[in-house]
Point group: C2
């Protein structure tokens, strides 16, 4: 079973090292890893064409995969990396088992409380709203309900943990917990291989 490893690790200074660690853990749990960066991107005439070529290669890799594990750790703000979220929606539409993890254990609602500095109040209909008037989702979920809902509807799990200090995108404990759950649900023998 081929598992697409989505996440913003590609942006790290030590991306290759972290991707290789994820690939190795994925193999150890009995899956075939499919990772962005697996294929070379051919040179292109413009920056934009190069970006489009990366997109095309990643879509091709997703189409070759049977499941996804998405790193939804908040990225440059309070929400997940949009590229990773696109990929999660893409794989969910294909009916693939979808798993996710975040290295921030706070719920979506808790992150919004921090974003609004606690200035959240119920409107006349009893719906919580931030100081800018925008409704605040309070559904005991780790991210926007489309993400948590899509994962749950495909039999997946969304694992959240607090990362080791300074290792927000490098701590792989939550990722490994995801792999263990996915192996239990998706692989014939239901267990990580003995080398894990």
């Amino acid at each position: 079973m081929r598992v697409y490893l989505a996440g913003p690790e590609v942006f790290l200074p030590n991306a290759r090292e972290v991707l290789d660690a994820k690939i190795e853990l994925t193999r150890r749990h009995g899956f075939i890893p499919v990772s962005p960066g697996d294929l070379e991107i051919p040179a292109q005439p413009t920056k934009r064409d190069f970006g489009l070529a990366i997109s095309a290669v990643n879509e091709r890799l997703m189409l070759s995969a049977d499941a996804i594990i998405a790193n939804l750790t908040p990225f440059r703000g309070i929400a997940a990396d949009t590229g990773t979220v696109y990929e999660l929606g893409f794989m969910c539409a294909r009916g693939c088992p979808a798993f996710a993890f975040s290295n921030v254990a706070q719920s979506h609602f808790e992150r919004l409380q921090i974003y609004y500095d606690g200035r959240i109040a119920d409107d006349a209909q009893g719906r919580p709203r931030g100081s800018d008037g925008l409704a605040v989702e309070d559904f005991d979920m780790a991210e926007n309900l489309m993400l948590d809902g899509g994962i749950e509807a495909r039999g997946g799990a969304f694992v959240t943990r607090t990362a080791a200090p300074g290792r927000l995108f490098e701590d792989l404990a939550a990722f490994e917990e995801c792999l263990e759950i996915a192996a239990g649900r998706l692989l014939r023998d239901g267990k990580p291989s003995s080398s894990s």
Copy 2:
């Protein structure tokens, strides 16, 4: 042709009014609008179950649609609403024509320059990185390359404009431009209906 209208307008205090305006504009351009909130969500025992029910209804609405127009205006930060991005990826995987708009005209790279307060420098490989070491995408795109790439690969367009002051999520000029382009590409007569 049924068009799913994805976007964070659902969070606005005047959500119904803005959604109704989008629905009306969509009809006027010859499409059948499919909008979150079209279906009633049945009561649920827990907050989480209610969130899951909304997700299920929105997925059902997407499956009933033939195309998507996604509002990718930066939401609570420098990037698009994650729920909307999930829906964009979902519809792209289904092979549906995908269009998007943003009421912020800055490119992804320009927003990152602001985010990093200009502290972006090339690494040893010539790849731009922010002060935290994270790579900065510089592909002449409006959002993460998976979003711009997915839209372009499905024959769509990504329209960006600067919204009227104080109307970041209510200004529908970019949305209407999207509808015009979509009608030209997707409808038999190639033009908005005479009532527009």
